[in-house]
């Protein structure tokens, strides 16, 4: 018998914790891998050129030749969707990266800086929050013009306050955590404590939020496209395809349906993966 009789119980509980991934998560990961392949090697997957027009083949329904049908200039929709993934995925990732970077700088400064810096930064954060994100995005687009990169800034900046808040809150929690105090008790310097304990521990929930906001950013990007403020044609960005397809949905349903499915499935997969990461994190915490 072990010296400590609670030992067994604990080990049991550990092995009992379900480590299985749900079917939804597995499917999502598979789908995201597919998307990643599309982003990296669109040529390999696309059956046609995404921009070559063929007036004679305009508005054909899905067929063996054109899997998703063709648009009003006879371009192959499947190929456009495949090539468009790079746009939508870069919007998702790019905007999130901007928000992440901004949020971490902001939040960490507020969390570590003195009371005054904290107050000042948080009030500024309030201002950014008080500005409706759509307005912020609209202003950024008006300021910088339309286009992929600007779209990504427009969305990313709007997300910063959320991240800054979370980072700050996490930093404050971690900063007061027992292990930080204990590290101080062992005589570690402040910088060492911050780098070795505070940041690594505060970052996890931030990454979870980041995963989830990738999906949000893709949606925001498509909304900007809808308002004609996102990437411009002939870019096959999904939101743009979708908003172009909407006016002909009664005659050419495929133009509205396939890009819509592409967006939804991607966002759905990212969300599912993000939520499962979050769950695992919470499970670890408890």
């Amino acid at each position: 018998m072990s010296r400590d009789n609670t030992n067994n119980a604990v080990t049991n509980r550990l092995s009992a914790r379900p480590k299985r991934l749900s079917v939804a998560v597995i499917l999502s990961v598979v789908f995201l891998v597919l998307i990643a392949i599309q982003v990296l090697f669109p040529e390999a997957i696309a059956t046609h050129s995404p921009i070559t027009i063929d007036p004679l083949a305009a508005l054909q329904p899905p067929s063996r030749e054109h899997w998703f049908g063709t648009d009003n200039l006879g371009r192959d929709l499947f190929s456009r969707v495949v090539h468009g993934s790079a746009y939508s995925v870069s919007i998702g990732f790019g905007a999130t990266l901007i928000a992440l970077a901004g949020g971490i700088v902001f939040g960490a400064l507020a969390g570590f800086g003195g009371r005054w810096l904290d107050q000042a930064l948080m009030r500024f954060n309030d201002v950014l929050m008080a500005l409706p994100s759509i307005l912020l995005a609209l202003v950024v687009v008006a300021l910088l013009g339309t286009g992929l990169v600007n779209t990504l800034w427009a969305i990313g900046i709007g997300l910063i306050p959320q991240f800054a808040r979370l980072v700050r809150a996490e930093v404050l929690v971690v900063r007061n955590a027992g292990y930080v105090e204990s590290a101080v008790g062992f005589g570690f310097s402040k910088t060492a404590v911050v780098c070795r304990h505070v940041i690594p521990n505060a970052i996890h929930p931030v990454f979870v939020l980041a995963t989830i906001s990738i999906g949000g950013s893709i949606l925001a990007g498509s909304t900007l496209s809808f308002l004609k403020l996102g990437p411009q044609p002939p870019a096959p960005e999904w939101g743009l395809l979708l908003s172009e397809g909407r006016s002909v949905i009664e005659h050419a349903w495929w133009l509205g349906v396939f890009p819509g499915i592409a967006i939804s499935l991607t966002v759905l997969s990212v969300t599912v993966v993000g939520k499962s990461l979050q769950k695992r994190y919470l499970q670890k915490e408890s």
Partner: protein, 571 residues
């Protein structure tokens, strides 16, 4: 096993005992979903009688609460419950439906949960919660409910029930909350009351009040099932005791029998593990002493006769924007000699932890000074203090919180060792880490676990190993054993004593448990509201307290321990 059976029949109902109102025979409970079909209760049988108290004792996780909840049909959706007989209040509940259960809950059996703060809905008023049972069973109309509840509140000793009716749990003190919970339990006049650890989270003096209240109900003919891990409480209170261990009843009998003539080794160990005056200088746990000689730091022997720690006139006030400033520490002075243990006792909020944090340099005192090894300490700027920080190490109530959750035990120890120049080399560090683990009684396999994957006792050992790693001179143990079961507590107390004896370390031991302090300390400081009320040798203070406050503390404890079992020698 069979032996136990025989004894069970031996203590069959005595003639004076009234007829049973609840009978449970061979209860088995398992949780198939939670792991590999864990069987948490095995063949437990007991009966409840009006006007009598049955106590369940045993360590954490031994199945006490689950067994009790089986009487209410509230074991959990994922539970498998089997029994040969389940009769409650003359009804058979073997195949009860939800509707049947709901009829008996509250009205037939009152249930008072452990930890009053979380057992009362924080978003409902006290009056609502107390009246809910009555309304649910339609014993009173909405109009009558208020006066009824106020009446009940009065009966459980909550004064000014009219006002309390509309208050929320957070507006009540711990003792009042517990009483409100009891009021809710008895509001519908049940014939059975289950009280699950009703006193655990309370200060001693309040414990006494709550138990007194239960006693009154019992005298009015209520059958009480009391669950506690505190043998002292059980001994004061129960007519019959069942000792649980890993889901089985290992011993049963009248309180007197079980406590004064324990038959099972486990019960004996439990009783032996209770610290107090009688256990001073003795080992509490059956484990062999640690061999720590290898660890003895070369310098530890020096400095005999002087003070490792001197606290001079510390004062600390907390200011907050919304509340009044709070004087947490008020002109506190004391000192601690090399190689000795100083206990600090006092009720919750008396400033014990604050003093400890100032000593550890985590908090700035408003005035006063702390000297370590006769040299300035608290007055130093952090950069100057840093090189000497390893001299003073903390063992806290919550070791888990003091570990970076991402790191393995090996890494945790390695990090601490890394602060010493001798252990810059990784290989050396690892070797030393394994050595340390062995010394505190852990195995090599624990080194690669993360703190979360260890039990409470193991965690505390890791914390001690880590503290020892940096060759400290003073250990500050703030409630280091409060969260542990008696038997684990015993082990850790033994480890601490071994350390002190063999390494000549000094220990500042903070606890609200007088018994623990009495067991381990050489001298003691009694604190109240930030001030030192009494300070001196342990035996002197515990046998003849001078201050009324100290006497009050001791009295409260005494009233719980009419029945002080004689210590059992180590096996």
């Amino acid at each position: 096993m069979s032996l136990l059976r025989a004894r069970e029949s031996a203590i069959a109902p005595a003639s004076a005992v009234p007829a049973a109102i609840a009978e449970v025979e061979n209860l088995n409970i398992s949780f198939p979903a939670g792991g590999e079909g864990r069987h948490v209760v095995r063949d437990v049988s007991f009966t409840l009688h009006p006007g009598r108290v049955l106590a369940f004792v045993g360590e954490s996780g031994s199945g006490k609460s689950v067994t009790a909840r089986a009487l209410l049909g509230l074991v959990g959706d994922n539970a498998q419950v089997r029994h040969e007989r389940l009769r409650i209040l003359d009804h058979d509940y073997s195949n009860a439906t939800q509707v049947d259960w709901r009829r008996i809950r509250g009205a037939g059996i009152g249930y008072v949960l452990q930890d009053a703060l979380t057992s009362l809905d924080p978003l409902k008023t006290v009056g609502f919660e107390v009246g809910e049972t009555v309304l649910e069973h339609r014993l009173k109309t909405k109009r009558e409910i208020r006066s009824h509840v106020v009446d009940i509140l009065g009966r459980v000793g909550i004064p000014d029930g009219e006002r309390r009716y509309d208050e929320y749990p957070h507006q009540l003190s711990g003792g009042l909350r517990q009483r409100a919970l009891i009021a809710a339990g008895i509001a519908a006049a049940p014939r059975i009351l289950i009280a699950d650890e009703p006193t655990t989270a309370l200060d001693v003096s309040i414990q006494v009040q709550v138990l007194r209240l239960l006693k009154q109900s019992q005298e009015k003919g209520l059958a009480i099932l009391l669950i506690t891990h505190d043998l002292t409480v059980a001994s004061t209170f129960a007519d019959e005791i069942l000792v649980f261990r890993q889901g089985e009843v290992v011993e049963r009998g009248t309180a007197g029998d079980v406590l004064s003539r324990p038959r099972h080794a486990y019960t004996k160990a439990l009783l032996q593990a209770i610290p107090g005056q009688q256990t001073r200088g003795k080992r509490l746990s059956p484990l062999p002493p640690l061999d720590l000689v290898r660890l003895r730091p070369p310098s530890a022997s020096g400095g005999d006769g002087g003070d490792i720690l001197e606290v001079r006139n510390l004062t600390k006030t907390f200011h907050s924007s919304t509340r009044h400033p709070r004087v947490a520490v008020d002109h506190v002075s004391f000192s601690l000699e090399y190689g000795r243990t100083l206990g600090i006792v006092g009720e919750s909020g008396s400033g014990k932890s604050t003093v400890a944090r100032i000593i550890l340099g985590f908090e700035h005192a408003d005035s006063g000074e702390v000297l370590i090894d006769g040299k300035p300490w608290s007055a130093l700027p952090e950069t100057k203090r840093r090189p000497r920080r390893h001299l003073v190490q903390l063992i806290s109530q919550d070791p888990l919180g003091s570990f970076d959750p991402r790191h393995t035990v090996l890494r945790l120890l390695g990090d601490a060792l890394g602060t010493l120049p001798a252990y810059r080399n990784t290989a050396k560090r690892d070797a030393r880490s394994y050595e340390l683990l062995e010394l505190v009684g852990l195995e090599r396999l624990h080194a690669l676990r993360r703190p979360r994957e260890l039990s409470g006792g193991q965690r505390q050992r890791v914390a001690i190993a880590r503290a020892l790693a940096v060759e400290p001179r003073l250990l500050v143990a703030d409630e280091a054993v409060s969260a542990l079961d008696v038997s684990i507590q015993a082990q850790i107390l033994d480890v601490l004593r071994d350390i002190q004896k063999q390494l000549g370390l000094s220990i500042l031991f903070i606890s609200h448990d007088l018994g623990v302090v009495q067991h381990i300390s050489d001298s003691v400081v009694v604190m109240k509201a930030g001030r030192v009320v009494e300070h001196g040798d342990v035996n002197a203070i515990f046998s003849s307290p001078k201050e009324p406050y100290t006497r009050e503390l001791l009295n409260a404890r005494h009233s719980l321990s009419h029945f002080r079992p004689a210590p059992v020698d180590a096996i």
